[in-house]
């Protein structure tokens, strides 16, 4: 119950945050802008509208997750809220979990808003409802939660600015781990073993990336989608546990 109470407060704070408002406005503008891009595309309009629409939602969610995650603990420390809360019978783990859940809820709110806008735009153009986009949209939300957890983990160790940089670095690696594995396969056995370790050690964010295939009307296996959700859920648990372990030993200034 305690984490849920903290989550509710965090969600209310996040919904009042200008960062979320700017992200929503920017996302809405960008989704509308895809119409213009489509018009310039000489025969690939629908594809470009879908690519840019889904890409915009994905990118904004990840960026918002990183920025929200970087400020979650530091802002409470600055405003001394954390001391008030932790002086009550609330553990640091409950505090972190509550913060994570509240911010995740804010991310899902943004996803719902932008997803609806995207669906509206697509329905306007194609005159039909395509349930296939729900698959990648849900995985966008999950990927954003993983990024939020990752940034929170870094925030327990370092400054907010460095947390953002580390999280974005992991994001690049998380989407490029397949390339690292492919390089390793062509190299000697030691390099191959190292690249395999890196591949499995890093969060593989490509698991959550279905947007490039649904654009071509390519369906995905339900099993693949469910395993991606399971992978994401497990990653979140790992990240939050690590963050909790570090935060529990952290000396608060």
């Amino acid at each position: 119950m305690i984490p849920l109470a903290i989550a509710s407060i965090t969600l209310k704070e996040a919904l009042r945050d200008k960062l979320l408002h700017v992200a929503a406005l920017f996302g809405a503008l960008l989704i509308g802008f895809t119409l213009l891009l489509g018009g310039l595309s000489a025969g690939a309009d629908l594809k470009i509208i879908q690519d840019f629409g889904l890409g915009t939602i994905n990118a904004l969610l990840v960026l918002l997750a990183v920025f929200l995650g970087s400020r979650l603990i530091s802002r409470d420390l600055e405003q001394r809220i954390v001391y008030t809360l932790l002086s009550k019978p609330i553990t640091r783990g409950q505090f972190l979990t509550g913060k994570f859940l509240g911010s995740s809820a804010a991310l899902w709110c943004l996803l719902a808003l932008l997803g609806l806008l995207f669906y509206g735009l697509m329905a306007l153009i194609t005159r039909r409802f395509e349930p296939i986009y729900l698959g990648p949209l849900v995985l966008f939300g999950l990927e954003a939660m993983v990024m939020l957890g990752l940034t929170m983990l870094f925030t327990t160790m370092t400054s907010p600015m460095l947390s953002i940089l580390y999280a974005l670095g992991f994001y690049v690696l998380g989407h490029g781990s397949e390339i690292i594995k492919q390089f390793g396969e062509k190299a000697d056995p030691v390099a191959k073993a190292v690249s395999t370790m890196i591949y499995y050690g890093l969060p593989n964010l490509e698991t959550f990336n279905l947007k490039n295939q649904v654009v071509y009307g390519e369906t995905f296996a339900l099993g693949q989608w469910l395993w991606a959700i399971a992978y994401g859920a497990c990653l979140i648990v790992v990240l939050l546990t690590l963050a909790n372990l570090i935060f529990a030993r952290k000396e608060l200034p």
Binding site: L37, L40, S41, A42, G43, A44, K47, I48, D51, F52, G55, N58, A59, Y171, V172, H175, G176, I179, L205, E206, F208, N209, K211, N212, V215, Y216
Partner: protein, 217 residues
Amino acid sequence: MKPLRSVLVLLVAGSCALGSLVRWETEAAARPAGLLSVPPAAALKLGSMGFRNMAADALYLRFIGYWGYQLTHGRNFHNLYPLLSAIVELDPRFHAAYELGALALGDSGESLKAVDLLAKGAKHDPTNWWFPYQAGMTLFFFGDDPLLAAKYFERAAELPGAPPEAGYFAARMYERGARTELAVATWRAIYLRAGNPSIREVAKRSLEKLGEPLPAP
């Protein structure tokens, strides 16, 4: 700072900024036309992270702008192939990029590069007749090697769903390349296989024109 002085500073700085922008545009317009830089495909793949389709789209829009501009401003086409190649490396299913790309390359005198581009698509989707068919068409319209065009049409004709005229074009290309024996063999195959009576009739007339007997069914 007093308000009047602030307004003055804003006006001067704003005018200077606008003046610099206008000068920059003049300088930019004076640069040699037709230069288009393209990052390596491997770097693009890594750099685009999970947004490969979006990166391909952005490059495609750049291609459309560049090609359209050059069509009407001197036709200085440079780096078209590396750009198109990068697009299809990022998104191998980008049909419009193959279609317009092959047309742009063929039209700029690089029909073999156009065939290379279509070969990338065929590698990704080997059972799709469109890629060899389009390669044949590109060579027919822009190339000077009818035998190569014939080979692509023949390859297309063998794939499921190919239009019946693919074989017809192959035979015509063999004729144009003075390879009568190959033309005869292709016409005979069309005559025997064609379900459509008008195509059968064309094959019959072509064989008669070449002085060859009709094959026994």
